[in-house]
């Protein structure tokens, strides 16, 4: 990863900007959203690649310590996934290396989704809200190095 950051340093112009955008390992709330309500029904476990995330943190820290980049700012925001059915959500989660279903079971989620969907004339979507980080670095100048 550090080698990749060095390559990127070379490819960037002297006043270039590096943006590190990636999800944060965490528990992600699963909700059923209708026009009039948001009902929390459980969590997805998104800590599946914690070791990779730690390696990424270490690589960017090394790149900063080596003087290639200077951190300008670091923010976090929620990244939303929406699905129209439990089947859609299950397909996504089961195919993801980063996330896995924690609670509730798909059967329980299906029941809540069906009930709320009936009450909301069919307009109910499943939402998983994932915390995401965005860190901005500027390329360090030759003088800085």
């Amino acid at each position: 990863m550090v080698d990749a950051l060095q390559e990127i340093w070379c490819a960037l112009a002297s006043d270039g900007t590096l943006i590190d955008l990636r999800p944060v390992p965490s528990q992600c709330p699963i909700e059923v959203v209708t026009p009039g309500s948001i009902v929390h029904v459980g969590e997805a476990d998104a800590s599946g690649m914690a070791a990779d995330d730690e390696a990424a943190d270490r690589a960017i820290r090394d790149a900063v310590e080596q003087g290639w980049f200077v951190l300008r700012r670091d923010t976090r925001f929620d990244f939303d996934f929406y699905w129209d059915s439990v089947h859609e959500k299950a397909s996504f989660i089961d195919g993801s290396i980063r996330m896995k279903q924690a609670v509730p079971s798909y059967a329980d989620l299906e029941k809540v989704h069906r009930d709320l969907s009936t009450r909301a004339q069919g307009v109910a979507r499943i939402r998983c809200r994932r915390q995401t980080m965005l860190a901005v670095y500027c390329k360090a100048s030759i003088e800085t190095l």
């Binding site: 070379c10 112009a13 943006i19 996934f81 901005v136």
Partner: protein, 98 residues
């Protein structure tokens, strides 16, 4: 992929606030199916998305909006060996890829 990702554009808004993309030369590392690049490419001089998986590049090319064809290109590559000259880009975006 079924479902909808970031329908309110929170991610792309955060990205566009992070740097000046206007007329910028942008390298997106780990561009995947181009989902993120399509949202900001319109303001840039050009975007080069690199992605190691050819299947993803094919998806990105198929999904690329016609008005962005001249502005985005996709290259099969990894950041470990970038096939570009030094100082070719103003912004590099690590798109869920570090």
């Amino acid at each position: 992929m079924p479902g909808e990702l970031d329908p309110h554009g929170i991610e792309s808004s955060a990205l566009l606030r992070a740097a000046d993309f206007n007329k910028a030369r942008v390298l997106e590392v780990g561009t995947g199916d181009g989902r993120l690049a399509f949202r900001y490419a319109g303001a840039t001089a050009f975007v080069v998305g690199i992605e190691p998986e050819l299947k993803q590049i094919t998806s990105a090319l198929e999904a690329c909006p016609s008005d962005l064809h001249q502005r985005i290109s996709f290259v099969e590559a990894t950041a470990l060996a970038l096939p570009f000259r030094s100082e070719s880009f103003d912004i590099a975006v690590l798109a869920w890829s570090l």
